[in-house]
């Protein structure tokens, strides 16, 4: 995975609460055995009509949303199914961070393993972002900050180990594999 440090981008705003992973990628697109090209199905039922045509009123289909790498969404983003296809689809489409007032547990864990930053901010910052779709922002994983065009900068929490892996392009599995002696010792201990 590409190491992540700092990036500048604009936002796209989806002001809906409880966006579940069935909306992020409907189950009928889970019949795949790889993750290549999965971004094509991101928000499929919101993005396309029954005939497969883009719905012009959906935010991702508007010209101003093109190229945005930060998705600002309503509270409790990513709830529901554990499908990792959801962060795969968001990443493949081009998103590098999700900003909300809360993010569901499994989605957050899956995102951190795929170069997609789950950023939880306070309500006031969230309201500012919601009010100005397309705002230019800077995300610094190094400083754990999200900086807005009005000059404010908010710090966000992130699991320190996930941050280390993301900044160094490392895989969490390498760390687990390195624990093989402890694991063997645990397995050999009668319980």
């Amino acid at each position: 995975m590409e190491p992540i440090r700092t990036f500048e981008t604009k936002t796209v705003v989806l002001p809906i609460e409880n966006v579940d992973t069935d909306q992020i990628i409907p189950a009928r697109f889970l019949k795949v055995t790889s993750k290549v090209g999965i971004g094509a199905h991101l928000f499929a039922d919101w993005r396309y009509d029954g005939a497969g045509q883009e719905k012009s009123d959906f935010i991702l289909n508007k010209p101003e949303a093109k190229g945005a790498a930060v998705l600002v969404a309503g509270d409790n983003f990513g709830c529901g199914s554990s499908r990792e296809h959801a962060p795969w689809a968001l990443y493949d489409y081009g998103f590098r961070a999700i900003v909300s007032t809360s993010i569901a547990d499994i989605f957050k864990s899956n995102s951190l393993k795929n170069g997609l930053l789950p950023i939880v901010v306070d309500k006031a910052t969230h309201a500012k972002l919601l009010a100005k779709p397309g705002m230019d922002v800077t995300v610094s994983l190094e400083k754990q900050t999200l900086s807005l065009t009005d000059g404010t900068s908010v710090k966000f929490d992130i699991d320190p180990f996930a941050r280390y892996c993301l900044m160094n392009g490392q895989d969490e599995l390498d760390f687990l594999l390195a624990q093989k002696e402890e694991i063997a010792r645990y397995e050999a201990t009668p319980r």
Binding site: R28, N76, C79, R83, P160, I183
Partner: protein, 467 residues
């Protein structure tokens, strides 16, 4: 004196390979890993790419459930898989299991079924275990006093390769349900009421322990229904302390300990319940006697009301959007609303006791004209048992479909799906937009309420049909 510990604390402590530090999460040992065709293929690909093996193949068990057809078998006794993508996924699971030495309950085998139905019925699921699966409803297994939670495909690869996961310690929540349920009020109604109070994100970051006299009075299958939907409140897991009900359910199951091993296991399991005086990060209390049959009206499982209540007025844009999608008007009751489809099945409500309950409503009645009613057993074993009891005849004579075991219309990736605009009363766990088919609209409820809707063609209080 040592600090009193909760059931969760005991499970967490006893599975630590390496404790959490300021820089790294805990390394948690996983006793049982369940896999299925949809969330595992990429994990095996990554193992192959890195030249890794499965550390403990005997601790992983596979089945086929999500993308399989549930249409009755042909005259030759074979399943017809019409979807080529699904077929590829299924054959890849079979190949992966063979290559890495993992036991597979394949389509057509006696042990096949929904992953969260077969684990318990085989006795694979046991108290005191850590159990994971690439499926959010893994919380089901917590009913046995196990720490069980859903994971993503990356984590599936972690468990395959190391039998461990990196985890940060979650918070704990006690949900205490005291008193006696009134007739016609079921385990499904308890959990829908819990989610309605907590909200769909209310349990985020927590592991729930369900306790109290009303929980103790539930059968194992009912406890599974409750724990199953913990994730619908955002909780990491749900659990019930093991007791004699648990031990009685497990005794003699094919993969449960036998003989002297059984006695030793039960002794250890009896030490698992939360100690007197153990504290939780959060506590919620419910009065069982005040609960009504529940039904959802919106597009997430937290949008639930008592069956006779009116649709609440929207408090925000999200709720307005939900009512718009559902085509419902605030202030109006759901009772009497015509429906198109009834789905009885899923890892929430497809076990034998669920089917028996539904059958009490179907018996001697007919599915309302114009309504499609599907009954989908959770496993081949449940199917066989139901047929031995004649339940299949009850469903078929009423005009309902009696299908093969699988996830079916709960996830709608297998051919079983709603048409746009259709209304369904479903015993499954999610009423998200399009969950049961693009444009489909779902009311979640108990098997009793679903069966009552099937025979009346409308949303009905089942207590008016069965006393």
């Amino acid at each position: 004196m040592t600090k009193p510990r909760t059931l969760f604390d005991k499970l967490w402590d006893s599975h630590l390979v390496r404790p959490q530090t300021a820089d790294t999460p805990a390394v948690l040992y996983i006793d049982l890993h369940l896999i299925h065709e949809v969330t595992s293929p990429q994990a095996f690909t990554w193992l192959r790419e890195r030249g890794l093996t499965v550390r403990q193949p005997a601790r992983t068990v596979a089945t086929m459930d999500h993308s399989i057809p549930t249409t009755p078998r042909g005259a030759d006794g074979k399943f017809k898989i019409l979807d080529q993508q699904a077929e590829k996924q299924l054959s890849q699971l079979a190949q992966n299991c063979q290559e890495f030495g993992i036991e597979l309950f394949a389509l057509g085998s006696e042990g096949q079924g929904i992953v969260h139905v077969i684990g318990p019925e085989l006795g694979l699921t046991q108290p005191g275990m850590t159990i994971v699966c690439g499926d959010s409803h893994t919380s089901t297994h917590g009913a046995f006093g196990a720490l069980a939670f859903g994971i993503g495909t990356s984590e599936v690869s972690h468990v395959l390769a190391t039998q461990c996961l990196l985890q940060n310690r979650p918070k704990t929540m006690a949900i205490t349900v005291e008193g006696q349920l009134r007739p016609g009020v079921t385990a499904k109604d308890i959990i829908l009421a819990v989610i309605a109070r907590l909200g769909i994100g209310g349990g985020t970051g927590h592991v729930i322990e369900y306790r109290g006299s009303a929980i103790r009075a539930l059968s194992m299958e009912e406890r599974m229904t409750v724990c199953n939907m913990s994730i619908e409140a955002g909780a990491r897991a749900g659990m019930v302390a093991p007791d004699d009900v648990t031990f009685h359910y497990l005794a003699g199951r094919p993969r449960a300990p036998q003989g002297a091993d059984w006695d030793r296991a039960v002794e250890a399991w009896k030490r698992l319940p939360s100690d007197e005086g153990a504290t939780f990060d959060r506590e919620e209390k419910f009065d069982a006697a005040k609960l009504e049959p529940m039904i959802t009206y919106g597009t997430n499982p937290g949008m639930g009301i008592g069956i006779s209540a009116a649709v609440p007025a929207p408090e925000n844009a999200t709720m307005e959007k939900a009512l718009g999608y559902m085509g419902l008007e605030a202030g109006k009751p759901l009772l009497g609303k015509p429906i198109d489809v009834v789905f009885i099945g899923s890892c929430t409500n497809s076990r034998i006791s669920d089917l028996r309950q539904a059958a009490t409503v179907f018996k001697g009645r007919k599915v309302s004209s114009g309504v499609r009613a599907m009954v989908v057993p959770g496993s081949q074993r449940v199917k066989k048992q139901a047929e031995a009891e004649g339940l299949d005849r009850v469903f078929l004579e009423a005009g309902a479909e009696w299908r093969e075991a699988g996830c079916s219309m709960c996830i709608a990736m297998n051919g079983d799906q709603l048409r746009p605009g259709q209304y369904a009363v479903s015993t499954s766990n999610r009423n998200f937009e399009g969950r049961q088919g693009a444009g489909g609209r779902t009311f979640l409820a108990s098997p009793l309420t679903a069966a009552a809707a099937a025979v009346t063609g409308r949303i009905t209080d089942a207590r008016q049909l069965v006393g």
